[in-house]
Symmetry: C2
Subunit: 225 residues, 2 copies
DNA sequence: ATTGAAAGTGTATTTGCAACACTTTTCAAA
DNA sequence: TTTGAAAAGTGTTGCAAATACACTTTCAAT
């Protein structure tokens, strides 16, 4: 076995997670950001974060932190990067791992969010954030965009059932560019894991739009990424 | 400012880096692995790793660890992932960040490598590694392969000047599949940042093969990834 | 009955990728 | 000096995927 001294001669550090929480509403991507009413950096904007605790996996810490703010568990979350510059947190040395999370913006717990003094902010209006959180957001956005081109992660931002127009608007928001409606629908039609539910959404048009859903079983059968 | 107590109520952890060191020789990718003659897990195979020290950036720790083993600095290195499961190191809790490094296999310091009881092992012959290092290798390989399809990172595995046959063999090793010679050369011809040096390599053929080099300035001008 | 607003639908063109085999060069050996 | 071996180098065709592009349908409200 490893002698305890093998570890003891090395320093220990605080380990944190910071979460880039994406939502989608009215054709725009938003982030859930804190206007900090607590130290450090009180009064400034930041990501939701927290420290890793004893006996807690790093991934679990990220899930806990997101759940503390939104009340939601079982979100789609991915690790983005770990930031380990000595001076990145001016208070003490902290190694922080960034995760992004995708939230169906209809579902989060408004009371919790209010209690944390958190707000959904549309991407183009994101304020300057503390520490290296600006960089974290940029990295998370790039990573999430890449993943969205490879697999349909974006669906986690929509309700269970969604119209093709919603889906297209979402992808336009993620990729930041307009998409041709007919080409988009052709591509979706090829994906048998996006299936019509038979339900109709009449809230946005008189004609009504077919509602679709993501079939995870069919998807997992087809793809490995 | 942040009260010190803000940090003090949270635990600290050892932070480590583990490095997946890729080399390329005779048409095959290899990893530089340690046959551990020290605790913990003496006698088993592992990646080269080390602990992050006080006052040392995470990236710098990874660079130091690779330099300790190979004598090389200024390598192409990228962070892969941070592994934070509670029980991943059976000795004590350690959060470890994996980095991959690309080494021109002609240049490393053989004495250092011997002193560490390290060996180049061809990819298909990689033994089982300690802890979660198998997973780190799998993740690093996938990430490096992806990056290689997007930008010419592989060039870091070759000498300054290389022939197109060498480059093709390298990409076949990275992607794990044969590539058509004419299609490959067509694609390379479009990349003006891979330029002929005018030198000829006669070591492998009577006819001689044109030597090329990577022009970083032209590349940085063309691409942003 | 008309209008407005969103849903839904097909074709032609372009472009990038994949398949495919022979010629050239040079040196060394016969 | 001829011949053979071994690697370098070179174009065309076909196919599939992506793109560009505009009108019709539906239905509720007026």
């Amino acid at each position: 076995m490893a002698p305890k001294a093998y570890y003891d001669i090395h320093p220990k550090f605080h380990a944190a997670v910071d979460c880039i929480i994406f939502g989608f509403e009215e054709g725009e991507l938003s982030l859930l950001l804190l206007q900090r009413d607590f130290e450090p950096a009180k009064g400034q904007w930041s990501l939701m974060g927290g420290f890793v605790e004893d006996g807690e996996d790093l991934d679990d810490a990220a899930r806990r932190v997101v759940a503390e703010l939104t009340g939601l568990s079982d979100l789609y979350m991915r690790q983005v990067h770990t930031y380990g510059e000595v001076e990145r947190d001016p208070g003490e040395r902290v190694l922080s791992t960034a995760y992004y999370a995708l939230v169906n913006i209809k579902k989060y717990d408004r009371e919790l969010v209010r209690a944390h003094n958190a707000f959904w902010v549309r991407l183009p209006e994101i304020p300057h954030l503390i520490f290296d959180h600006d960089r974290m957001v940029a990295d998370a956005l790039r990573f999430m965009r890449y993943q969205a081109t490879v697999k349909p992660v974006g669906i986690n931002l929509l309700p269970e059932e969604f119209t093709l127009t919603q889906l297209q608007t979402l992808y336009e928001a993620i990729l930041g560019e307009p998409i041709d409606k007919r080409n988009f629908r052709k591509r979706i039609a090829q994906m048998d894991y996006i299936e019509k539910t038979g339900h109709i959404d009449k809230t946005l048009s008189r004609k009504g739009a077919a509602l679709y859903r993501f079939n995870r079983e069919k998807f997992d059968g087809n793809f490995k990424i």
